[in-house]
């Protein structure tokens, strides 16, 4: 048994669009970016934390086991007899309240696993991976913030013949990538925007290290799937798409498996609210379906015209 532990905020079996085949996807907690459209805000902080779902609360006055179980004297705020907020500054993330809650009114965002424990979950679906060409996908948050854990997990998977896939924004020191290079079958990453200043405005960080890491990855023989989330007011210009295409062609030699253009989705709002956070793009007015759909297909065709394996969405089999 190793003594490393990984903090995972979601285990999702039968994942079908993050890597080939049927996969079990583990979402690692903690991220180095802060993308405005992030749909997994519970993955931002590296620490376990409670998520509140007032609709599920059975009523504070007749239950209240959350407050009673708290040893840190955190204030529990109630509205219309439902638990709606806690004092996050005082909360230490021990999650005793979530343990005590009978109804799912408090969800656990983040649980510690040893690699062996995580592997035991992954292994259950081995027959399905074998049949479909699937395996495990580790995502996040930023999976590489916990690279040692992921490496250990992948080692266990490899030993049992389970395929591995890593989804990472790659905004980490290159040393972390190197730990996973020999253990990863498929890489999935993003090129969110080629203009570093705009990248920084929208994700909190410039893109230099990310692009450098992609170059490194490809130079070491990995053939990643690259995704571009197409977001109006951020990166949805022909100029950016062409620049991305040029980068892939010239600097990566076109050595990628697939280039996926993903539409913007207003996702995860209920999760922001479970953390008492507001959604950063709350005011954003997404374009009509016809508009973005047309654009996505147009961008795809531009990239295909450049000789790249571009697809709209992630539902097309990787050939």
């Amino acid at each position: 048994m190793s003594d490393i532990k990984g903090i995972i905020f979601n285990v999702q079996p039968f994942t079908v669009h993050d890597g080939p085949g049927i996969r079990t996807e583990l979402f690692m907690k903690g991220c180095t970016l802060k993308c405005r459209w992030c749909s997994n805000p519970e993955g931002l902080s590296p620490k376990p934390e409670p998520g509140l779902y007032p609709d599920k609360c059975i009523g504070f006055s007749k239950c209240g086991v959350c407050e009673k179980s708290c040893v840190n004297g955190v204030a529990y705020s109630v509205y219309e007899d439902k638990l709606v907020a806690i004092d996050r500054a005082k909360c230490r993330g021990c999650l005793a309240c979530a343990e005590a809650c009978p109804s799912g009114g408090i969800k656990v965002w983040g649980k510690a696993y040893t690699p062996e424990e995580a592997f035991a979950l992954v292994k259950k679906d081995k027959k399905y991976y074998d049949e479909s060409g699937g395996g495990v996908t580790v995502s996040g948050g930023e999976a590489l913030m916990q690279a040692d854990f992921v490496a250990e997990l992948f080692r266990l998977c490899r030993a049992e013949g389970i395929g591995t896939c890593l989804e990472s924004a790659l905004n980490v020191p290159v040393s972390e990538l190197e730990k996973l290079l020999p253990l990863t079958d498929f890489w999935i990453t993003d090129i969110k925007c080629m203009d570093s200043a705009i990248h920084k405005q929208n994700t909190g960080t410039g893109n230099e290290r990310i692009l450098e890491n992609i170059r490194f990855l490809v130079s070491r023989g990995a053939k990643p799937v690259i995704r571009i989330p197409i977001i109006e007011t951020f990166n949805a210009t022909e100029e950016n798409i062409r620049a991305t295409g040029e980068f892939i062609k010239n600097e990566l030699g076109g050595n990628i498996l697939q280039l996926q253009l993903l539409p913007y989705r207003k996702l995860g709002l209920e999760k922001y609210s479970s953390l008492n956070l507001s959604y950063p793009m709350g005011d954003f007015k997404a374009p009509e379906r016809e508009v973005w759909e047309e654009k996505l297909l147009r961008f795809r065709d531009i990239l295909r015209g450049m000789g790249l394996p571009a697809e709209a969405g992630s539902g097309n089999a990787i050939k």
Partner: protein, 841 residues
């Protein structure tokens, strides 16, 4: 690994990998490439559903006229008179003709089974004012019912069964506390059978007549057995006169219509129909069109004889394989013609109606006949894959009609071609719920367990919903009873009584009031010291109640044999002719009675909850829990939430604690039922499906420890628990499959149903399709017997948006995660609704 696509030659008129969208479901404008089919679909939709008195009137006259005849002769003559005299119609555009002794979308009436309810409902609960299953009855029909209802008093199957039932049988039945429901075969025929169509196509009715005449000539004049056989054979010959006339009259009708037809194309079609009918009235079919005509009308006559539903059409691609090849080779048919004929056939099947009583339609709505089984795929007697053009044609025919008939099933096995699987799952992804799939491995294993040699078992067909049956060889009484296990659990927890036992119960005087109790005497939960005691008491009650269920079904069986022999069906099921015994009396090679257990999930989760919270954690005592249940969880919000949460072990999550208990429950039921003798010379087989009777079962059950309140539905089929508070399966589809694979499904010889629910996005794109195929390949090759699919449709999502309270447990795959649909923001809901048509994830 995925087996690769072997060929790209078209196997039907559509490419094998044609996609029709995901979750688009329902009716679309002009789904068929054939204008005729689209026209017929429209015509059908506009026509109201009615009942027709002709069959009832002719039967009544016959019973009066032939009252001195022995019962087999009497019923044979009555059927003959119907077939010879009932008006025949050919409807616009039809290429295959024939009805069920009533016009299209009209239900015949079967007074010999039951009639009192119909007369009662016409007067007190009009059939045209029902919330569903509406029937428009003409004044003539209503009058006809009143005219004959008195004649039938005391002569029906229903009344005879009820008079034979004693308190011991009635008290647990639908007439008593609802421990089991056996009303289906009390009010109607048994159906649930598949004829030997291969033999019929080979010999024709004329050839079968010759077989009977030969057998008749070999009888002695004096042996008592032979005298009985003589009556049987004579009854069959009488029926054959009617058969010939009925088919022939459709030929005459077509000829008559052709003479008046101005359109040259239609005139030619009508003349072809005429010659088809005239030839197959007795003769052997020459090509596939004639063969399909014979197949259709032969099946209809099974339904004219008796109103048991789930009369099954058999293995389409096996029955017609040879004659299809012959017709193509000789140029008497093209692939396009067979496609169109198949779609015409689907519409004919969709015309069939069965009028049911109010009680029945409350739990299972839909005016359709029901159980019109139709299989494709699978292996032959030697174990080789049989898929051919016809397999693909049938699947395309569903995509081209999108109607809920026939009830299509696909047999899958390890060596099924990749193209076939792609076609099957593309049709499934449309989202109509058709077709369902069977896993050959477990089905064949199960059939062998119940006495069929391997080469026979390999030719199985799914009768009705899912019941494994041998075409032309099994008389299975597959749907004879539903057994309400949660009610047995309630009686167990309460020491042999109902949870709400009181003087106001109509049964009280005979039961607790008479110093007795409803069930066996076992201790109540309050008196139990260990979980093992509870298991033991449950087993005792299960044995007690299955004894009474079996007794009831056998009683019904005895009445059917006495009052309603089936000489026509006996023509088409081996070995009735060979042995000279009617199918109802055990003439078939394989005889069964199938009884389904309902509420496996509810009972399993209830037992594991009691084990955990009473005996392991000691959160409450047995007495306290009983009190909470009696109060219907009122005031116990914390515990109700707790038992519905993932903090308690639940079946369907690959959790051994809960799954071991599910195995115990299922094995207890199977042990109580399997191999027990039935009244037509065979044995009982347990089934595990509820269709929608889990709603009715739930209405007879008070609150259960799994966190279900009074009268909520119990769990469906093999599925996990979904109470109003929460769904208990929270670990995804592969965990469900792993839990289910732990059950020994081959022991459930009468079949199982497992309902899968997918949101369109989780199975969209090529990736989604291939992963769905892989999921099923693994499940069906690792202990799974059957699967059917609910692709949550656009309509459902829209309804969920408008009525969120009805859809609190509707889980959808959003993108990177799954979520409760009703908790999502409105914009995203709209987006998900829109995404049903595209696959952009």
């Amino acid at each position: 690994m995925l087996n690769s696509v072997k060929s790209v030659t078209p196997l039907a008129i559509e490419p094998y990998d044609k996609e029709w969208g995901v979750g688009v479901s329902g009716m679309v404008e002009n789904p068929s490439p054939f204008p005729r089919i689209n026209e017929m679909l429209r015509w059908f939709k506009e026509r109201p559903t009615t009942a027709d008195p002709q069959r009832m009137l002719i039967f009544t006259e016959a019973y009066k006229k032939y009252s001195a005849d022995p019962q087999p002769i009497k019923v044979a003559k009555a059927l003959r008179d119907v077939l010879m005299n009932v008006p025949v119609n050919i409807w616009p555009g039809e290429l295959i003709v024939g009805e069920i002794a009533a016009p299209a979308k009209s239900a015949p009436i079967y007074p010999e089974f039951s009639l009192n309810w119909l007369a009662y409902e016409i007067e007190n609960d009009p059939l045209d004012q029902r919330p569903n299953d509406v029937y428009i009855l003409s004044d003539e029909t209503k009058k006809a019912v009143f005219d004959v209802v008195d004649f039938w008093k005391g002569k029906t199957v229903e009344e005879s069964i009820k008079s034979m039932f004693r308190y011991e049988q009635a008290k647990g039945s639908q007439m008593g506390q609802g421990v089991y429901f056996c009303d289906l075969y009390t009010y109607a025929g048994a159906g649930h059978v598949c004829a030997d169509y291969e033999k019929l196509i080979k010999l024709g009715f004329g050839g079968i007549r010759k077989e009977i005449e030969k057998k008749l000539s070999e009888l002695t004049v004096y042996l008592p057995e032979d005298i009985k056989k003589r009556t049987f054979y004579e009854s069959q010959l009488i029926v054959l006169d009617g058969v010939k006339s009925y088919i022939y009259r459709y030929g005459d009708k077509a000829e008559e219509m052709a003479a008046a037809e101005k359109d040259e194309t239609r005139k030619k079609e009508l003349l072809r129909i005429a010659s088809n009918c005239h030839n197959v009235a007795e003769g052997v079919p020459n090509d596939i069109w004639e063969a399909m005509q014979l197949w259709h009308i032969a099946t209809n006559m099974i339904i004219i004889e008796a109103n048991g539903h789930s009369v099954t059409y058999g293995r389409f691609d096996q029955i017609f394989k040879d004659i299809y090849a012959k017709s193509i080779a000789e140029g008497t048919a093209t692939r396009e013609l067979v496609q169109e004929l198949t779609e015409c056939m689907f519409l004919k099947i969709h015309q069939l109606c069965k009028i049911r009583d109010r009680g029945n339609i409350t739990v299972s709505s839909g005016t359709i006949m029901g159980g019109t089984g139709f299989d494709v795929g699978g292996v032959d007697a030697e174990g080789n894959d049989i898929t051919n053009d016809l397999s693909y044609i049938a699947l395309d025919a569903h995509a081209h009609t999108r109607i809920p008939n026939p009830w299509m099933a696909v047999r899958l096995h390890k060596d099924a071609p990749r193209e076939f699987k792609i076609k099957v799952f593309n049709v499934i992804r449309i989202g109509t719920g058709e077709p369902k799939v069977f896993g050959d491995e477990m089905m064949i294993k199960s059939l062998m367990r119940y006495g069929k040699p391997i080469e026979v078992a390999r030719n199985y067909v799914g009768v009705g919903c899912v019941e494994p049956s041998i075409p032309g060889k099994t008389y299975g009484w597959h749907d004879s009873c539903y057994f309400n296990m949660p009610k047995v659990l309630e009686i167990t927890l309460n020491g042999g009584k109902c949870q709400h036992c009181s003087e106001s119960c109509p049964q009280y005087a005979k039961c607790v009031g008479a110093g007795s109790q409803l069930g066996a005497k076992t201790p109540s939960l309050a008196e139990m010291k260990s979980f093992d005691e509870l298991k033991e008491a449950f087993q005792t009650q299960m044995r007690y109640w299955t004894d009474r269920m079996i007794s009831s079904v056998n009683t019904m069986d005895i009445v059917h044999q006495a009052l309603k022999p089936l000489p026509y069906l006996s023509l088409l099921v081996d070995d009735c002719i060979e042995r000279g015994v009617d199918v109802t009396a055990g003439g078939a090679r394989y005889n069964h009675s199938g009884t389904q257990c309902v509420g496996l999930g509810t009972v399993s989760d209830s037992l594991s909850t009691v084990k955990q919270i009473v005996f392991d954690e000691k959160k409450v005592t047995g007495a306290e829990l009983l009190d909470i249940l009696k109060k219907n969880w009122e005031g116990s919000d914390y515990l109700l939430a707790y038992v519905n949460s993932d903090k308690v072990h639940h079946f369907g999550n690959d959790d051994d604690y809960a799954d071991d208990i599910a195995q115990f429950v299922l094995n207890t039921y199977c042990g109580c039922v399997e191999h027990r003798p039935n009244a037509h010379g065979g044995e009982f087989m347990p089934g595990a499906f509820s269709v929608s009777i889990n709603v009715m079962c739930g209405s007879h059950c008070s609150a259960t420890p799994d966190g279900r309140r009074d009268a909520e539905p119990v769990s469906d089929c093999l599925g996990a628990v979904h109470t109003e508070v929460a769904s208990h399966d929270v670990s995804g589809p592969t965990a469900i499959a792993r839990s289910l694979a732990k059950l020994d499904q081959s022991r459930i010889g009468n079949g199982v149903i497992l309902n899968w629910k997918f949101s369109p996005t989780s199975i969209s794109g090529e990736t989604g399709r291939d992963n769905l195929i892989s999921l099923m390949d693994v499940y069906l090759n690792n202990g799974g017997m059957q699967s059917q699919f609910n692709i949550i449709s656009r309509e459902t999502l829209i309804d969920a948006q408008t009525n969120p309270d009805n859809y609190r447990d509707l889980v959808v795959r959003v993108a990177g995660y799954s979520a409760y649909f009703t908790e999502l923001n409105p914009e995203l809901q709209v987006d998900l609704i829109n995404r049903t048509e595209l696959s952009f994830d």
